[in-house]
Symmetry: C2
Subunit: 446 residues, 2 copies
C-alpha cells in the first residue's frame, strides 16, 4: 500500500463503494480520489479528509461502483428501436430491419444513432460499450467526441454492404481505422467478422493470422441459435466453434457473442482456449434464440461478460436490466435460487467485461491506478429501501434510473442525471427526423 | 354513442391514448375527460375542445393508459426487500424470512411496509394491487388512506400466526374486515386461503361454501413448484388443482397464483371452470420455481393476469418489468419471437387483471363510465425514442420511471412524479427505523 496523495482533482465521499475487485466487497463510508484520468486513492472517509481536492462531492445514500461495460451491441440501430417487434426472426430481418437499413444506413445515420445510444447508455450507468456496425468510423468519432469509452469492432462480411465491397475491403478500411485511433485513450478498434455463416473459411483464416500478428481482439456472433449450428454441421460437418478453433481463431483475445447452443465439448474447448463468452440474455429471450449455459461455463472457468445487443432486439441498452435478467434466468435454468448471486452478476457487467475486451488492466474495477470510469447510484428512493445489502439492491431492485453521476477517464459525463456532452433536445429533433424518414421507407410496412 | 359532456372536472390532452379495450388500439391526439370518480369522455382532441373543464392538462409526448393491476403481492414485505437474496428456497424461508416475520410483524409493520409498497407501485404505474398478508386490516386502512385501490385477501391457515389462531379465527376476522369495508369504493376484501399445503381439506371446503354464499373471490397460492405438486400427489394421491375442483373451489371467482406446474389436464380444467391464473414471472425465476405455461393457458382461453409477488422475492413491485419478463419468457419458452406480443402483455397487466379480480366492469380499460384509474407515461426521453409503436415502447423499453401522472377513481395521486398523498421523506425515516430493528433480529444473520 502506498500512502494516499495529498491532492486530487476530485474527491467523492459516498455511502458505499463497491470496488468489484476484491469480489463481493462493500465498503461503507469510503471515499475515492481522482486525478487526471486515474483513480489515485480509495480509502475510509476519515482518512480521505487529509486530501485537498479541487472538487469535493458528497453523495450520501449513494453507492459508487465501476462504470458498466456493455460487451455487445449495434448502437446506431437505436434508430430502429421498436420498429418491428414481435416478429419471427427471419421476417423481422428480411421484411423489416434489412430493408430499412438498406434504405437509410449512412455515416449520418450511424452518427445520430450512436449519439442516441450513448445518451441512453450513460443514463443507465454504462461507461464502455462494444460496437459492431457499418461505418464504424462514424461510431468511433462519435464516442470520442462524447467522451465515451468503446471497443469498435469493424464488421467483416464476404459480400458488399453500404460500408464495403468484400472481406479485403472491410479489413483494409478497418485496419486504417485502427491506425487512426491508435493513440486514442478511449477508443480501441478490433476485428469484427460478423459470423461463421457470413464470412467464409478462407477469410476467417486470414483474420486469425492478422489478429495474431497485431495481438488484436476478435469479436464474433457465434452459436446464436441451435438452427445456426445445425445448418453448419449439415453443410460443413463441423460445429462453428470447432471450425474457429481449427482456423486458430479461438483464444484469449476471442469474444464469442450469444453462445446459446453449447454442448459440454464446446464448453471444454472455450475453457481450454481461454475464449470469452458475451451473454445477451434479453436479446436471446426476445428473439427466442435460446439460453446460454452460463452456470456450466462459469463452473469450467470460462469468462462470461454481458451485452445488451441492439435496441432493435432488446429494446433498451440498460445493463441493470441485463444483470437482473442474467441472474434470474440462471436461477430458473439451474433450478436453484442461489445460482448466479448478485455479486457475480455485477462482476459480469464490470470486471468480466473488461477481461473480455482485454482491458482489465485499465477498467472494470475501482482500484488505485486504474482509469477513473465510475458511476454513482442513488439508493434513497422507495424502490431501493430498506437497504440491507447494496449489492442486492443494485442487481435486483435498480432499473438504471437511479444512476446519478458518471465519470469516464476522470471526466464527469453525467452529474445529477444531466449529461455534460449531449444536448438531449437537439438529439430528440434529429431522432424524430430519422423516424419520419424510416417510417416512410418504400416497401417497408410499419 | 352518447354525445360528450359539456363540462368535466379534468380534461387531459395526450399524444396517444391506449384504452386496452378495444385490444391493441392506439389513439393519436386524443383526449379524456374525468368527472367525479369516472371517465366521462374519450374522444379526438379536436372534439374535446368543446368541453369546459376545471383542470386542463397538456401531455404532449405522453401516452395515457389504464392504471396497471398487480394481482399478487405481500406489500408489507417490502420492509424485507433484499434481506436475504440468493438463497435456496427453504433456507431463505426458514432461516431468514420467517424468523424476521415472527420477530417483527405487527400492525405498525404492515402499515409502514404497505405505505412503502404503495409509494413504489404508484411511481411505477400501478393503481390497483392485490394483497395477502397478516393484519390485512392495517393494509386495507393504509390503502384507503392513501387513495390506492386494492383487493385485500385475508389470509387463512390451519395454524396460529401473529394475526390469528386457526382457520375459524382467520375467517371470522376476515369476514368482519369485509364488513368494515363493504361501502369502500377502493377496497374489496376476499378470501385468501394461503395454499393447499397450509389449509386442510375441511377448511378449504368450508371456504368454498362461504365464498359461494357471498359470491366472493378466492385467492390462493397454487402449484408454485413441481415439488409442491409432487408432495401432494404422494401424500393425498391427488394434484392440488384436482382437490380444489372436487371441493368446489375452482370457478370464475378463483384466482390461482403461480401455477408453474401445469399438465394439459390442469389447463383444460382451468379453462372449463373459468378460474384465473396470476403469473408472477420474476418471482418464479428468482426463486427458481419454474415457468408458467402462459402460451398454452391463453390458447385454451384461460384468463392470465400478472403479479409481482413481494419485494422479498422480486425485488421490485414494478409491473413494467413484469410485462417485459412475461413477454420475453413466453417467447423463449415457445421458441417463437412472435409469442405474447406487446398488446397482449399490456392486456395481462390491465384488463386481464381486472377480470381476475372480478372488477372488469369498473377498471382495467379506459372506457366511458368506468372508474378513472389511469396513468400517463412520458415517452420523450432517449430511452423511448424514436417512437414507431407506443405499445412496443411501453412493454419493451419503459422501466416504470417514465410514469409521470396517476389518477385513481378520478383523484390525482401522482403529478409530475410527485406523490400527492405520501411524504417520502417521513416514510424513509420510518423505513430506516424498521431496517435497524430487523437487521439486529436475534438469531437471524444478515
Amino acid at each position: 500500500m502506498t500512502s494516499p496523495p495529498n491532492t486530487a482533482d476530485t474527491l467523492i465521499h459516498a455511502g458505499w463503494i463497491v470496488p468489484v475487485v476484491p469480489h463481493g466487497v462493500v465498503l461503507e463510508n469510503h471515499s475515492i480520489a481522482l486525478t487526471g484520468e486515474r483513480i489515485t486513492a480509495l480509502l475510509p472517509r476519515a482518512e480521505a479528509q487529509a486530501i485537498e481536492a479541487q472538487n469535493v462531492l458528497e453523495l450520501p445514500g449513494h453507492v459508487l461502483l465501476p462504470g458498466l461495460i456493455n460487451c455487445h451491441g449495434h448502437a446506431a440501430m437505436s434508430l430502429l428501436r421498436g420498429f418491428a417487434d414481435d416478429q419471427p426472426l427471419m421476417p423481422w430481418l428480411e421484411q423489416h430491419i434489412w430493408p430499412a437499413e438498406r434504405a437509410h444506413v449512412s455515416e449520418e445515420f450511424v452518427r445520430d444513432g450512436t449519439e442516441l445510444a450513448i445518451a441512453e447508455m450513460l443514463r443507465a450507468g454504462t461507461t464502455t460499450f462494444s460496437d459492431m456496425y457499418f461505418f464504424p468510423n462514424a461510431c468511433a468519432a462519435t464516442a470520442q467526441r462524447l467522451g465515451m469509452r468503446c471497443q469498435i469492432t469493424f464488421p467483416i462480411f464476404d459480400f458488399p454492404t453500404a460500408w464495403g465491397q468484400d472481406a479485403d475491403d472491410y479489413i483494409r478500411k478497418g485496419l486504417a481505422l485502427r491506425d487512426d485511433f491508435k493513440h486514442s485513450a478511449l477508443v480501441t478498434v478490433v476485428f469484427g467478422p460478423h459470423a461463421p455463416y457470413t464470412v467464409c473459411e478462407a477469410n476467417l483464416a486470414r483474420i486469425a493470422t492478422l489478429a495474431a500478428e497485431l495481438d488484436a481482439p476478435v469479436h464474433i456472433h457465434l452459436h446464436e441459435t441451435a438452427g445456426e449450428v445445425l445448418m453448419a454441421v449439415e453443410q460443413c460437418g463441423e460445429r462453428p466453434l470447432d471450425m474457429l478453433n481449427r482456423l486458430g481463431l479461438l483464444g484469449p483475445r476471442t469474444q464469442c457473442v450469444h453462445m446459446t447452443d453449447l454442448g459440454d465439448q464446446d464448453i471444454a474447448l472455450l475453457a481450454a482456449t481461454g475464449a470469452h463468452v458475451v451473454h445477451c440474455p434479453q436479446s436471446n429471450m426476445k428473439l427466442a434464440s435460446g439460453t446460454c449455459r452460463v452456470g456450466a461455463l462459469r463452473a469450467q472457468g470460462v469468462n462470461v461478460a454481458l451485452g445488451t445487443d441492439s435496441a432493435a432486439s432488446n429494446n433498451d441498452l440498460n445493463l441493470f436490466g441485463e444483470m437482473q435478467a442474467a441472474a434470474l434466468l440462471a436461477k430458473l435454468h439451474a433450478h436453484d435460487a442461489s445460482a448466479l448471486p448478485a455479486a457475480d452478476a455485477l462482476a459480469m457487467a464490470t470486471i468480466n467485461g473488461a477481461r473480455a475486451l482485454g482491458l482489465e488492466d485499465r477498467i472494470g474495477s475501482l482500484e488505485v491506478g486504474k482509469q477513473a470510469d465510475l458511476i454513482a447510484v442513488d439508493l434513497r428512493g422507495p424502490e431501493t429501501q430498506p437497504l440491507y445489502h447494496p449489492l442486492s439492491q443494485l442487481v435486483y431492485a435498480c432499473n438504471g434510473s437511479q444512476v446519478s453521476h458518471s465519470w469516464i477517464a476522470g471526466a464527469a459525463v453525467m452529474a445529477d442525471r444531466e449529461l455534460t456532452h449531449i444536448d438531449l433536445q437537439a438529439l430528440a429533433v434529429r431522432t424524430n427526423q430519422w423516424q419520419q424518414r424510416i417510417a416512410h421507407t418504400p416497401g417497408v410496412t410499419l
